[in-house]
């Protein structure tokens, strides 16, 4: 433990889970701070256990530290008890590796994985003693950078950040550091100059303060106007074109305490061929770019040698869509079995769930099964383009039951566009059919009763989806629907859980919000909001009160159908997929027509203009 932690050390015995803060992990990167030209603090705005599990952070930590003159460290948000102790002892937020306060850094990056973590971002800046607003930070302050999926519409937090990375950061972040170091060395660094030059010369950089926003009388956005003519009018997403060539960390910082994903995460491909109409990830990560099985196998081996983990998880949005899954699992099984390493395949689709797969992969055999039909009737599944059929589901659960399983978990969404009560009843019916299927399976485990869990979330209209214009159901409607669905379920063998509609509403406000939400977030921070993604911390009434006091009507953002010709706050970003495509998809949804997946037929979404190797896009140009 370094000396800066002496004080931290004395409070660690009085907080819960001190292993979150003690540091000293094997694999952490320590550099001599007097010999580096830029210090980068990579912040994950949630707990250590969640942040340490994030693959993106692992990659970018490695990418930045690969630069000899850059030292990237990690920062997580201390839990509430620790924050209180730090306040009591006058200790600011510090980075894990050096124990230095954040104000000593040149750059601070936040990964924005979910909207409900926005309050944690501000909470962390506050703990670090850094002014929240970009405009209030002078040249001596670190540059505050945002990235991750929420950066595609980070307008609600735009006033707090100096710049955003749009898209994949493997090249962008080092480029930002290089520019910073160069300008410092040449003695011409000012924050203003730096931001301008970054926006002008580095692709994918969005500097919100360089765009002026005007609004119409009805409150909608009128225009985004760049204040310089040498910066892009629309910021285009950056992608890694060739995933085989893309930087991959061959070692990892090893947590001592148990984290959420305490295993090797092997990223098999980026993007998704499916195009579910509610799904943001399915759109913003396009186009699909696969890694080859040989490269993946080599990377997995490397990580096994350097970490000693006994589980490899094949991650991607829908693992069964990987064209070479067979070959990859065969290559991996050649050495994983004898070394007693488990392979896990999250994100399996029902249509790919087979007996062969079950026999091959031990964890598929042992863990409980989860499928996501998302909607209760074929009509609504067609509307959302979730191309899963009832018989696919029945076949899949049949295979599982025949293999001795008795529990299945099903994910659904309520409040989807065009949803009717019969669709909700359909969810209950589907669950009953799964129960019936159990008793119809002769090979079932006769000593056990079946158990089906249905977990229902609330639809949230997200930017860059065909449903981005939709109104979210009001809370009363959502609550009513949840209750109705509950009343449709009479069988004790069906367990029913649903998300809190109040959280989903706030999430909808933040997801489609614009810059006028900043005062509300600022006030929320002042009032001590934090960890809003955690049930025990979220307080709906307080959120509403904050909005009210700032003159913000949450319904304007959550429950209003946005006009199809309206300027959207996120129009400033080009994520590859065109607005025309999203509109086409929206119309098809209302007609109840499905769209084939990218491998069956290209629907011309526009993402191929970004280029990409090993993708199914026609004419992917680089």
């Amino acid at each position: 433990m370094n000396k800066n932690n002496t004080n931290i050390s004395s409070i660690l015995k009085s907080v819960s889970k001190p292993g979150r803060y003690s540091g000293g992990e094997y694999g952490q990167i320590i550099k001599d701070k007097s010999k580096v030209a830029a210090r980068f603090a990579f912040c994950f705005p949630d707990t250590y256990e969640i942040g340490m599990s994030n693959l993106g952070v692992r990659i970018l930590y490695g990418v930045l530290n690969k630069e000899d003159d850059v030292w990237c460290e990690r920062v997580y948000n201390p839990w509430i008890d620790m924050q209180e102790k730090m306040k009591e002892h006058g200790l600011p937020l510090r980075a894990c590796e050096s124990g230095d306060p954040l104000t000593e850094f040149d750059m601070i990056g936040f990964t924005l994985q979910y909207e409900m973590s926005y309050t944690n971002v501000l909470n962390m800046l506050d703990l670090a003693g850094i002014p929240l607003r970009s405009a209030d930070r002078d040249d001596s302050m670190p540059i505050i950078i945002g990235g991750g999926p929420c950066a595609y519409n980070a307008e609600p937090v735009a006033d707090f950040f100096d710049l955003f990375n749009i898209g994949e950061g493997e090249e962008m972040l080092p480029e930002l550091c290089r520019l910073y170091i160069k300008m410092k060395k040449e003695g011409r660094y000012t924050k203003r100059e730096y931001l301008h030059e970054a926006a002008r010369s580095i692709e994918g950089i969005y500097v919100p303060s360089l765009y002026e926003v005007t609004y119409n009388e009805d409150g909608t956005v009128k225009a985004y106007t760049p204040i310089y003519d040498d910066i892009p009018r629309q910021v285009k997403k950056r992608i890694m074109k060739d995933m085989d060539e893309s930087y991959f960390p061959e070692d990892a910082v090893m947590p001592y305490i148990e984290t959420v994903h305490d295993r090797i995460m092997l990223e098999v491909y980026r993007g998704c061929i499916r195009g579910c109409r509610f799904c943001q990830a399915g759109m913003i990560y396009r186009p699909v770019r696969e890694k080859t099985p040989e490269v993946l196998n080599r990377q997995a081996k490397c990580l096994y040698e350097s970490t000693g983990y006994d589980e490899i998880s094949l991650t991607s949005l829908s693992i069964s869509d990987y064209t070479e899954l067979e070959r990859l699992t065969d290559l991996l099984l050649e050495w994983t079995n004898e070394n007693m390493i488990n392979l896990s395949l999250p994100s399996l689709r029902v249509d790919s769930f087979t007996k062969e797969l079950m026999d091959k992969i031990a964890t598929v055999r042992s863990s409980s099964l989860t499928f996501a039909p998302e909607a209760g009737t074929q009509r609504l599944r067609d509307v959302i383009n979730k191309n899963v059929r009832e018989d696919d589901l029945m076949r899949a659960v049949g295979v599982a039951f025949a293999a001795g399983k008795n529990t299945v978990k099903l994910y659904f969404m309520s409040g989807l566009p065009t949803e009717r009560y019969e669709d909700l009843k359909g969810i209950a019916d589907l669950a009953s059919m799964v129960i019936d299927k159990y008793y119809d399976t002769p090979e079932r485990n006769r000593s056990k009763k079946p158990q089906v869990t249905i977990s229902v979330s609330c639809f949230i209209p997200k930017p860059f989806t065909p449903f981005q214009w939709e109104a979210q159901d009001t809370m009363e409607m959502l609550a009513d629907k949840q209750e109705y669905l509950g009343s449709c379920i009479t069988d004790k063998k069906i367990r029913y859980t649903h998300h809190d509609a109040r959280v989903s509403r706030i999430e909808a406000v933040l997801a489609r919000g614009d810059r006028r939400l900043a005062p509300a977030l600022e006030l929320a921070c002042k009032e001590g909001f934090k960890f809003d993604a955690w049930d025990e911390c979220f307080d709906y009434d307080k959120w509403i009160s904050v909005f009210e006091r700032c003159g913000i009507d949450p319904a304007f953002y959550a429950n209003r159908a946005f006009g199809l010709d309206e300027v959207l706050p996120w129009d400033i970003i080009d994520c590859g997929v065109t607005k025309e495509f999203l509109l086409r998809e929206r119309n098809k949804a209302y007609e109840g027509n499905t769209t084939p997946n990218c491998r069956e037929k290209c629907s011309g979404c526009g993402a191929n203009k970004l280029g990409g190797e090993r993708t199914c896009c026609p004419k992917a140009r680089s």
């Binding site: 409070i11 009085s14 992990e25 001592y256 081996k301 350097s306 006994d310």
Partner: protein
């Protein structure tokens, strides 16, 4: 540290090492200090499971449906206490010298969790009866008379709630103390003591100092957790021979 590709070669080489007739137990003596004092026993076990894989040791795995390495630890240490005398027994099934084992493990460990000795054990963990600790207490409630006051108080019974298998029980913890000394060094209380460490009558040093803090009012009401440091320094058998 071996590079990853060296490790792959090494893995193959291990398979050609001479096989042992029976699995051999190797005892590792290690330190757990600094940041590592906040890591629980369970987390430590998980950590070592990964470390032995990284270190490319010829570990013996249990047979059967769920093969695993057999790691046996001596008296667990509670969170918030450091130690320079922890023991872990591992089993290997191929020839490898204790020096090599230690070297390889240390390449995968840090300065705060490090192997300091490796050898073929002669004694059982069950022989451990006593443990010595160095404790320091920093607090505004300490004066020049405090050591004397503590030394007096320790002669009388101190009753504390102690968790046992049968539930919580009030016991006189002074019955579990073998030796105890206490002095003032630069305003801090420094205690050296030897406490019972058998599995049935284990006295947690933290329980002792919270008893003393209560009886001698060392803390003036501030929380004990923020004012002490504990280091376990050695383990002994019933005859006070140093446990190895």
């Amino acid at each position: 540290m071996l590079s990853e590709s060296q490790k792959l070669i090494e893995k193959k080489r291990i398979k050609s090492l001479p096989e042992l007739e029976r699995p051999r137990t190797v005892r590792l003596k290690f330190i757990k200090v600094g940041s590592l004092q906040y890591i629980s026993h369970l987390d430590l076990q998980r950590t070592f499971n990964r470390v032995i894989v990284r270190a490319c040791l010829p570990i013996w795995y249990t047979k059967g449906f769920n093969p695993h390495a057999k790691l046996v630890f001596s008296t667990p240490l509670s969170i918030g206490a450091q130690s320079t005398c922890e023991f872990l027994d591992i089993r290997i099934d191929r020839e490898m010298s204790c020096e090599t084992i230690m070297e390889r493990l240390n390449a995968e460990l840090t300065e705060e969790l490090k192997i300091v000795d490796a050898y073929i054990p002669e004694r059982d963990f069950a022989d451990i009866k006593w443990a010595s600790y160095d404790i320091s207490i920093t607090s505004g409630g300490i004066s020049e008379n405090t050591p004397e006051q503590i030394m007096q108080r320790i002669k009388e019974p101190i009753f504390m709630l102690k968790k046992t298998k049968a539930g919580e029980k009030e016991i006189d913890i002074t019955g579990l103390i073998h030796s105890f000394s206490c002095k003032l060094v630069e305003g801090d209380i420094k205690i050296s003591c030897t406490l019972s460490a058998s599995s049935t009558e284990y006295l947690n040093p933290e329980l002792l100092i919270s008893g003393l803090a209560r009886e001698c009012d060392l803390l003036c009401g501030s929380p004990l957790e923020e004012h002490y440091d504990i280091i376990r320094t050695s383990l002994y058998d019933a005859e006070f021979n140093l446990f190895k």
